[in-house]
Assembly symmetry: C2
């Protein structure tokens, strides 16, 4: 969808324009005039002749033409009538600035539904309500009541908080950061973050998309579209509201570990979105991404006129997982020929406290020419001989010559470095107040470059028995049973190529012994009840039973003890199962996020998953690389690889299992949660066993 | 020691004063004059009559009196002669600005030793060499060549990097943060960080001590003194050089886990020092600590005129481990009576976008009066109706009324909030650019307040058999054996009250069986060689041997296989040992840091310690509380408390073991490293067993 009528309108009407300075209806007209808007501007106010020198109209209809864009600032209860007028005139683009809708309670919510319906029924696209407005400096458009206007530039910004826009505009202007579009999306009753991100993705003036969001609608579409856009344009988002709430009521391990915050992390990861933890961090990243080339690797060189900050930068680089570049011999020779003998000509290149601009320029040039260097950070402290301004000019010159290496500056100080900082800002060299922040921005660039260069995602399709699963799920849904118990859950897993231990349910001690005799000793016994989820908590699991007598004893003990502990539980019997050979216990699972769909989980098994919460989530469908990545990202990955003489386990077999789960939950949207716990995996080449499993289903929406 | 002659000198001589503007020898005199120094100032330069209008002297002696403070800026090779002159005149305080000493290599190092010797032999205290100088605004003293002079205030600052001082001065001036003392300690050949921190600890003008360090001399004294000072004055330190290096060559687990970074963390923790990760963070903390009262608890209230930033602050508060305050009912009623109906009168208190100063003032006042609130963060975004300056004034008024609650402001933006920020700065209300940074500063205050209120440290002394340990250690040192093997290490542990499993070393299969028969089956067997540290890596550990035959088989197999794997190892025999009852395996250890002394370690045992590195270190001597804290701080602490039906272990017994190690290594400085691995601990009331142990000794220095 093109948002041309919003961002390059040939005519704009402001309904609710006012003569009262300080009033929103006045500020919008004033901002339009101050921005030098070159199209036709129609303030609408039946009681005024002109506002800010622009002729007023009594009503939308009185204008005599249909404006490309209508900005509405009338009181909330009048908005529906104005929307209807827009509909009558076949207006296509409306911004509703007015507040007093969904955010105020049920009455406002109804009012919002009313105007949204008018929009939908009449082909009107609407921004807001309850927003600050929108700006497009290149079109000389400022249809907002913000006190600061944006500079033209190449960042497209969208925000769910209008107040935040006011702060960002103010900071960005001071930092000479310009915007292609700036839009406050308010209650996003019609146009939402996805529409705008897509429009900015298609917009040639927008090189970087940034924004602030509190939630995301249309989760799976958002993931798909954002991922496609990230392939060619970075998306830098703040997302607040990360704590609290969550899936407290979830019944599975996977569910209880998968809060909404985890879902957002998965989405950002998949879609290549760079998350910003604060407005300062976002400004830091916008600066770097909009002006600098992406680094082609992680090797960073630091040029500094002071030892202390150089060490601090080195610390930050190492902590962040970047590499402190090792300079080539030729570079070191080159530096040795020119630098004073006391200078450090290795990384960090210390040009010394008395360095003037020329020495900086030589050092930066040498570093830039070194093929082993991927990015350059220039530190400056204001010492007696320091030339902040000429040094900044030298940085600008050198940066202009390195097409594939980002250059980031860190002039530390305030008044003493102000002139230099101004030069850097004017030339769009990112400037940071501390080395740590420069490094942080660089890390984000390196990670994004890495994300962008990953191979095409190919999701493997396994041959499976879909019909069988369909039958089991349908039967449960017909009976309104949400939980699929162990035996049928395992049938589902078998249909998707998992191996499970053999076993049957016994309802008497003798039957249990009979089943055990058919299997191979030792056997495992597990209480069988739809009401008992954590079997071991009630003594409902016995392992290593080696004879018929032990099996019968275990059966009778469970039947005697468990009903006392859980009188509420209906007990069907006891599952008698062959015992797995030894191996590493892990847990595989899935939780379906209400917004973003299935997230597959991997975790180290047994007690570790509960104590350490050492788990990783990825959005389904999974590729082979992603499923392996899920293992690598756990803190205890080394245990899978083998530690201290212990043999490692079959890592590909786990990755295979994760992909099978991914396929299962993608093909069956009715599955909302599942756990395979434990999934016992042995050494390379052996088949892992899904020892216990639980699947929850719901009617798919 | 008083540093009065440095900070309140009645007369100052500058040797090497120069007429050349831009030269260090000129800038110092100029700074002294500009600062309005009221004592006697003596530039010394045989070739000049006056500098900056001050009469020059041909030499120190030519002055005719002994100056309280001599600042030396002559070339490095001339410094010894000037120092000798100072000695002859009985000067007591010298600052050597001149560079070209230790930092330039061996020749410079010798020169530095020469001048240090002159100082030491003649009772001269010396700052530097290779430094920026020192400042004391209250004494109108600026004996430095810094381009910016500090404002008077109550932060005492010391820095191992002169360049960093220049940046900090510049930033602090812009932020209206003043200093009591500011000192660049350079190569700290004589006066070092400890001397200065002690002097600032005693200085009534210094409310907060801050600094930048690259290393710390006199480690244990530093810990002791800093801890005493932190009890009444916060110490805010940046410490760089944290990465790289480390104890790669260490032979024990504990040693390999204890890098120098771990030691610094231990020191900061023990001494209550607040660590600053960047100069921005340090500035943030200095602002808060110097002007605001310490919070009396973790409950934070946020007052905001915008929803988005309010959520971001709430996220940050929750992430940081602070508490989002629940307002008292009376507070909510009070707010409900005055705030507009759309305002959120719970925390965060959203005064709405159209809030002017009066509404802010009422809300802040209500929050301040609420006894459940411990700290207040005020957020402001520059919206149309916002009054940055009057709101700042309102904050200043309210903050003045809450004696025990810190108030932190976060005015987001730049030009639009500048007037408000200026009011806040002038009134010493800390101001932050983002809510996250305000929260970060507050966290440091809450933690420090908590540290300060901890009970007096009482170290328990256990009755032990010191003599026995002395004999074993002496014997090893006499024979120049660094490693004390398992059997004798256990004797040492027994002497300090640890229980160890029974066992003996066998040199033949028959002897092994004989020993086993004396113990109770099953038994454990371990290869016994001074050259094999990781026994299980070579198949040198067998557990669960249940009969004489199994014991003999195991003996012969080890004797056959291990010499093939490790032909270099001299094998003494095989240890036959009773098998421990089941329990949780943990690891207790100690590593003696070369600077800071013994650090006791606790970690989860077995493979976990290697994979997760889930360990904690604390400086010995340990209190009971600290040893329990060591357990609580591990990520897997829950495993000790008992998980999922499993009974917990005797936590006090582990804490007891840690305190016994603490006593052992404090009483025997020859012990440089030790591990008890595993230390098997059972349920409450049982005695844990030190199953395997290793102790390394060295001649104590």
């Amino acid at each position: 969808m093109s948002l041309e009528k919003f961002f390059q309108p040939k005519s704009v009407a402001v309904v609710g324009a006012s003569r009262g300075k300080g009033k929103v209806g006045y500020e919008i007209v004033a901002n339009m005039v101050a921005a030098g808007y070159e199209g036709k501007l129609y303030p609408v106010n039946p009681k005024a002749d002109e506002i800010c020198g622009v002729k007023c109209h009594g009503s939308l209809k009185a204008i005599g033409e249909t404006p490309d864009l209508v900005v509405i600032v009338v009181p909330a209860k009048v908005v529906p009538a104005v929307m209807q007028e827009c509909a009558d005139l076949r207006v296509e683009a409306v911004v509703v600035i007015t507040a007093g809708f969904k955010e105020t309670g049920s009455q406002g919510k109804e009012l919002e539904q009313t105007i949204t319906q008018i929009a939908r029924r009449n082909g009107i696209r609407m921004v807001g309500p309850n927003c600050l407005g929108l700006m497009s400096p290149k079109s000389k458009l400022n249809a907002s009541f913000a006190a600061v206007s944006p500079l033209p530039g190449n960042v497209g910004y969208l925000s769910q908080s209008g107040a935040l826009v006011t702060a960002i505009l103010d900071v960005a202007r001071a930092g000479n950061l310009g915007f292609s579009k700036m839009i406050s999306i308010g209650n996003k009753a019609d146009l939402d973050e996805l529409d705008l991100i897509k429009a900015m993705g298609d917009d040639d003036d927008t090189k970087v998309i940034a924004g602030y969001l509190e939630n995301i609608a249309h989760g799976d579409e958002f993931v798909r579209e954002a991922e496609a856009i990230s392939r060619h344009k970075p998306i830098l988002l703040m997302k607040s509201g990360g704590t609290g709430a969550g899936a407290a009521a979830a019944s599975s391990h996977t569910g209880s570990l998968a809060g909404s915050e985890v879902a957002y992390e998965c989405v950002f990861e998949r879609a290549g979105i760079i998350r910003c933890e604060s407005i300062e961090a976002q400004f830091d990243y916008m600066q770097a991404f909009v002006s600098q080339p992406l680094p082609q690797g992680p090797n960073v060189v630091v040029v500094t006129n002071a030892g202390g900050p150089g060490i601090m930068a080195a610390d930050a680089i190492e902590h962040a997982g970047l590499t402190f570049a090792k300079l080539a011999d030729e570079t070191i020779e080159k530096l040795a020929g020119v630098m004073p003998s006391a200078a450090n000509i290795h990384n960090p290149i210390d040009v010394l406290g008395d360095a003037q601009a020329d020495r900086y320029e030589f050092a930066i040039g040498a570093a830039a020419a070194d093929p082993s260097v991927h990015a350059i950070i220039v530190l400056l402290t204001p010492q007696a001989m320091t030339q902040a301004r000429p040094t900044a000019e030298a940085i600008v010159r050198t940066a202009g010559k390195c097409a594939h290496k980002p250059v980031l500056a860190c002039f530390m100080g305030q008044a003493q470095v102000a002139e230099g900082v101004a030069v850097l800002r004017a030339a769009q060299i990112p400037q940071y107040n501390s080395p740590e922040r420069a490094v942080d921005a660089l890390v984000k660039m390196v990670k994004y470059a890495h994300w962008r260069s990953r191979p095409k995602r190919i999701v493997k399709l396994f041959p499976v028995n879909r019909r069988k699963v369909e039958r089991i799920i349908d039967r449960h849904l017909r009976r309104q049973e949400r939980e699929i118990g162990e035996v049928e859950a395992k049938e589902i897993l078998e249909a998707y190529g998992f191996a499970t231990p053999k076993g049957e349910i016994a309802t008497s001690a003798e039957q249990a012994a009979g089943i055990a005799e058919q299997l191979r000793y030792p056997v495992v016994m597990k209480i069988w009840s739809p009401d008992i989820l954590h079997k071991s908590d009630v003594g409902g699991v016995k392992v290593g039973l080696g004879s018929a007598q032990e099996v019968m004893d275990a059966f009778d003990l469970m039947m005697y003890r468990i009903p006392k502990k859980r009188p509420d539980a209906s007990i069907i019997g006891v599952l008698v199962q062959e015992m797995c050979r030894k191996g590493q216990e892990v847990i595989l699972g899935m939780h379906r996020d209400p917004h973003f769909g299935p997230m597959v989980m991997f975790g180290m098994g047994g007690i570790l998953v509960e104590v350490l919460k050492d788990v990783t989530f990825y959005l389904a469908p999974l590729t082979a690389e992603e499923s392996r990545e899920m293992l690598v990202r756990t803190r205890t990955y080394q245990m899978l690889k083998g530690v201290r003489g212990q043999e490692g386990v079959d890592i590909d077999a786990i990755a295979d299992g994760l992909q099978r789960i991914s396929q299962l939950v993608t093909e069956f949207p009715q599955i909302v949660e599942m756990d395979i716990n434990p999934f016992v995996v042995g050494r390379q080449g052996t088949t892992p066993i899904a020892v216990d499993a639980r699947i929850s289903v719901e009617e798919a929406k």
